[in-house]
Structure formats: C-alpha cells, structure tokens
Symmetry: C2
Subunit: 155 residues, 2 copies
C-alpha cells in the first residue's frame, strides 16, 4: 500500500533537470534498456551538452510523483533537420519508459502526447518512433499509425 | 545509350558540398519524397547550418557520376546522443535514394555501407533506419536486420 501512495503521479510533465539524477532518472531508464556506468557527473555533463550545444533539438520530458522525489516516466524528442519537405523537420520520439510499478495511470500517454505537442510547436511535419510489436496498440491510442519497418545493425 | 554513359558512377562517396545544388541534389531527393520549394540559397543555408551548428552530428554523403556533373545517390547519418548505453550514441540513417536510371550499380549499397562506417567511427553502438517492407531485402544485404515497427503521426 505504501508503494502505491509513494508512486502517485504529480500533475503535468516538465523538462528533465540537473537534480533528476538523484530522483532516479537513470534507474528509470534501466527499466527500458542497458544504462551502464553513468555517474551523476556524466549525467550532468550530457544534459548540459544536449541543452547548450544542440540548439534546442533535444526535448527530454519527465513526470514525477506527487512528492517530487522520484521520476516515474520519461521520453525524449529529437528534432531532425532535413532538406526534403522544404527544409522541414521530423521529430524522433525516443526512450519512452514508465516505472513498472507506476504503469496503468496513463503516464506514458501523457509523456508521448506532450512530446508530440513539442514537435508541433517546433514545426515538425511529422513525428516518428520505433516500438516493439506489443506496444503498437499503445501508440495507436495516442494517434500514431503503423508505417514502416525498423532495421538495425549493432556495431 | 547516351543516358547510360552519362550516368556511370564515379569512384567512392564524398560529403555533400555547396555546389551540389547545381548537380541535381534536390532533384535526386524528389525521387524519394516531396522536396517542395528549396532554392539554392535555402540549400546552402541549411547545409551551412547542419555543418556548423550541429557539431558533426549530420553526415550527408553523395555519389556522383564519372564526369562529376550529377549527384546519383545520397544518404544521411544523424548521430543521436543518449543517456542509455553509458551516454552512448545511435546513428539514424535517413533519406537514402539513388536516381532511378542509375539503379542496379550498387550505389545504394555503397552509400549505406559508408554511412554505417561513419557511424562506427563516431562511436555509435548501433545504426537504425526505417524502410518500406519492399526494401527490407536490400538492407539485409548490407548487414542490417529487421527489428521493430515504425509508427508515425503527421502534424
């Protein structure tokens, strides 16, 4: 019961901030995939780099709990600049994850909807993402549709 | 017959350059998708922006003909910086296209292989791309494998 109370989500979404390392940001990412060795210093350096060296192309959003002590969900938007579509931009949605014990409250939907809105505000003509077959239904609920096949090569 | 001669590919691949507007770069992209209104000035401004404002994250390669008068194939690598995988990077391969009248000479393979090499040199732990079902076989030949589902939302 205590766990449920702790993990009730606060309102809205906000941008990832320096103090979020201490609120379990990388621990949250580890529920998605391998995070590896990322110290607080590494985290701050990477966040600073993305915020100051890439001209606003990265928008990383988080949802925290009511007590503002823990990051419960996150997702990233990367804006890609192209020549096609009149030198248009495409939004890539990446690294969507919600704490397993906080799922079912609509946090993933909230994060993705906010990232799509950010992409629109940045003038993107479309947003894309790659997901596992089992998550297609989730993304259809936020208005996305199945399009192509993702190919990968590990280096 | 004259067409075939004109469109024999030169050696290697090289980075997209300012003069390539005049060599049909945007015309080539129009074989892939909508290009819209991109003047020579727009092209130069966007190329300059990508080269000087995004710290080497964009690598746009081209193959030209023997006479160095026409761009016959192109592809783009965008390096994405992440927190996962020890603040690792992922290479996104985008906008691969070869002039229809120059297909079958292995130019697409040459461009994609060069982009994968660039991704490796930039330390990417993987490269990904999205393609139509009919092109899966082509990308398998350059060592890629089918992985996830691409979802899209047009804005």
């Amino acid at each position: 019961m205590a766990t449920t109370t702790t993990l009730r989500a606060g309102e809205g979404v906000r941008k990832l901030a320096e103090g979020d390392y201490g609120k379990g940001y990388t621990e949250l990412l580890s529920k998605l995939t391998t995070v590896g060795d990322v110290s607080e210093e590494d985290f701050r350096a990477q966040l600073h780099f993305l915020e100051t060296e890439r001209g606003g192309d990265y928008c990383i959003l988080v949802v925290e709990d009511e007590g503002k002590s823990r990051i419960m969900g996150t997702g990233t938007l990367l804006v890609e600049h192209k020549f096609i579509h009149a030198c248009g931009s495409v939004g890539h949605i990446e690294d969507i994850v919600v704490l397993p014990e906080a799922r079912g409250q609509g946090l993933g939907h909230r994060v993705v909807a906010a990232l799509i809105k950010e992409a629109g505000e940045r003038g993107c003509y479309k947003v894309i993402l790659d997901c596992a077959e089992k998550n297609v239904g989730f993304y259809e609920k936020v208005g996305m549709e199945r399009k192509e096949v993702q190919m990968v090569k590990y280096l």
